[in-house]
């Protein structure tokens, strides 16, 4: 499968199965877009006739170049990784190596789009995790991780800083097990920032390998969607704290992460705003939810959203001071194809654990009782549910099998599929379309930073200062 596309004024082709990416001129792009491989030795007359605007000799020359790529395994390659039948038999043993540890099912914000029902995950019962439960969770993941050395624990909520005592004791306890069990724990935390004291900042910067700081961008956008319990805006409280944390972070990873909804489809402005606040590593994610969710991006929003991604990519072109999470695709050094078959690993490699010790496939399934997989106190772990998730890969999900982006996104989100389609295997096409657009922008940015192709013309849409120049 070959995907030809244009983005940021670049003409591009991605050879899906090999991972090869080519930057084309307009002629070879138009030619390749008409070809269904494999290519024969000579340019077919019928094909040349479809492109009468070009000289036949030039078309034949481009054909030769494309043929050369095919001969060298860089175009129209076949998928030899695994056959679809074998995909169903990929190892199902649940080697769990990553926890989303819900240390708090309570929150001090009341975000309007919250998938966790503002912290309690729809249970009506706000609580934090005690250390005994966290300790059990750590013991459980050490046992379940088998020979895997690296174990990740993300402190999540609700708002995890509301359970800072449990966080600290858990880190200390997990570290005490590392040597004996030959494990390396990597801790991350996702926080809304309200309780970021100097002490907490210092602790997080010392102990957490990554920290995700929740901010939606411009003050008006953030404060509208992320009010406090008392209905006040959170921006003025959290931004100075985030800036302080990031200033003390050194080279350690962090992301300032926002959510965009149908109410701010001009989210490129929010990314720009976050960059202007001094945040280098930025992510904004589309709000997800069922079809009747007032904030989730809908199919009719896609043209606007895709244009906004392209606008954002143009804005970030050549800028070294901003790293937008979804445009950060390393074509050459990314994960192996084995990793790319299965994606997030929810329900098998990765699970969420609630303050009660209940185990769910991931944070987004928490509260859906039919997906409760067990509990860390009795060691139960439902292999039927786990196998259902382990079976999800780019060969078993019907839409992925036909999708050019399958090895970049690796199958999408089971929770999102369930919300929209009632089925973890049936892809949420709206999310898929946004993902494809982000990837096209990311690949085009790669081409531009490599000095290939032609730089896109300036985008003057919406400009009121140079009337008549376009």
């Amino acid at each position: 499968m070959v995907h030809t596309f244009t983005a940021l004024g670049q003409y591009l082709a991605a050879d899906v199965n090999s991972g090869a990416v080519h930057v084309l001129d307009k002629l070879s792009y138009e030619l390749l877009s008409l070809v269904e491989g494999p290519m024969g030795e000579t340019l077919p007359d019928a094909l040349a006739a479809k492109l009468p605007q070009y000289d036949r000799a030039d078309l034949a020359e481009a054909w030769e170049e494309l043929r050369g790529l095919q001969e060298n395994g860089l175009l129209f390659t076949t998928d030899e990784y695994i056959d679809p039948e074998a995909a169903m038999a990929l190892p199902r043993s649940a080697v769990v190596k990553a926890l989303c540890l819900h240390v708090s099912h309570d929150c001090n914000l009341r975000c309007r789009y919250c998938f966790a029902s503002t912290g309690d995950f729809g249970t009506g019962h706000r609580m934090t995790m005690d250390f005994e439960t966290a300790k059990k969770a750590i013991d459980w993941v050490v046992a379940k991780s088998g020979k895997r050395r690296n174990i990740e624990v993300d402190f999540f909520g609700g708002e995890p800083l509301m359970a800072m005592d449990t966080v600290k004791k858990t880190v200390e306890y997990a570290r005490s097990l590392e040597k004996e069990h030959d494990k390396v724990f990597r801790f991350t935390i996702t926080t809304n920032g309200i309780l970021l004291s100097d002490e907490n900042i210092e602790y997080i910067n010392r102990e957490m390998s990554n920290v995700v700081l929740s901010l939606d961008g411009r003050q008006g956008v953030n404060d509208h969607m992320r009010p406090t319990v008392n209905g006040k805006g959170s921006y003025d409280v959290i931004v100075p704290k985030f800036q302080k944390l990031v200033q003390g972070r050194g080279t350690k990873d962090y992301y300032v992460r926002g959510t965009f909804t149908r109410e701010n489809l001009d989210f490129a402005e929010d990314v720009k705003h976050m960059a202007a606040l001094g945040f280098r590593h930025v992510s904004v994610e589309p709000a997800s939810g069922p079809l009747d969710d007032p904030f989730a991006i809908k199919a009719e929003d896609l043209p606007r959203v895709e244009a906004e991604y392209e606008k954002l990519a143009r804005e970030l072109m050549g800028r070294k001071d901003v790293n937008f999470f979804h445009f950060n695709v390393d074509l050459a050094q990314g994960p192996c194809v084995i990793k790319r078959l299965r994606g997030c690993g929810a329900g098998c490699e990765y699970v969420a654990i609630t303050p009660d010790g209940d185990i769910y496939p991931c944070h987004q399934f928490v509260g859906k009782e039919e997906y409760c997989m067990g509990n860390v106190f009795d060691g139960s772990f439902d292999m039927d549910i786990s196998s259902k998730f382990a079976d999800q890969n780019v060969y078993t999900r019907p839409a992925c099998r036909e999708c050019w982006a399958r090895f970049y996104c690796s199958g999408g989100c089971s929770a999102s599929n369930l919300l929209v389609n009632g089925n973890i295997s049936q892809s949420n096409e709206v999310a898929c379309e946004m993902e494809r657009k982000r990837l096209e922008c990311a690949i085009a940015l790669n081409a531009i930073s490599a000095g290939m192709g032609e730089l896109p013309a300036a985008d003057h849409s919406g400009c009121e200062e140079c009337e008549g120049c376009h």
Partner: protein, 47 residues
């Protein structure tokens, strides 16, 4: 070549031979918590 420049070779295919150690970060843990992009993750063996 006059018409085409190759930005990236057949790296995916090459990775199949030595991949699968499972030590890399779980993608959803890194920043998104809602949507998947695996291609922006790091390989533990390329550090």
């Amino acid at each position: 070549m006059k018409h085409i420049q190759t930005l990236n070779g057949a790296t995916l295919k090459a990775s199949a031979a030595k991949g699968g150690c499972g030590e890399c970060q779980t993608s959803c843990q890194s920043a998104c918590k809602t949507s998947c992009t695996v291609a922006n993750q790091k390989c533990e063996n390329n550090k």
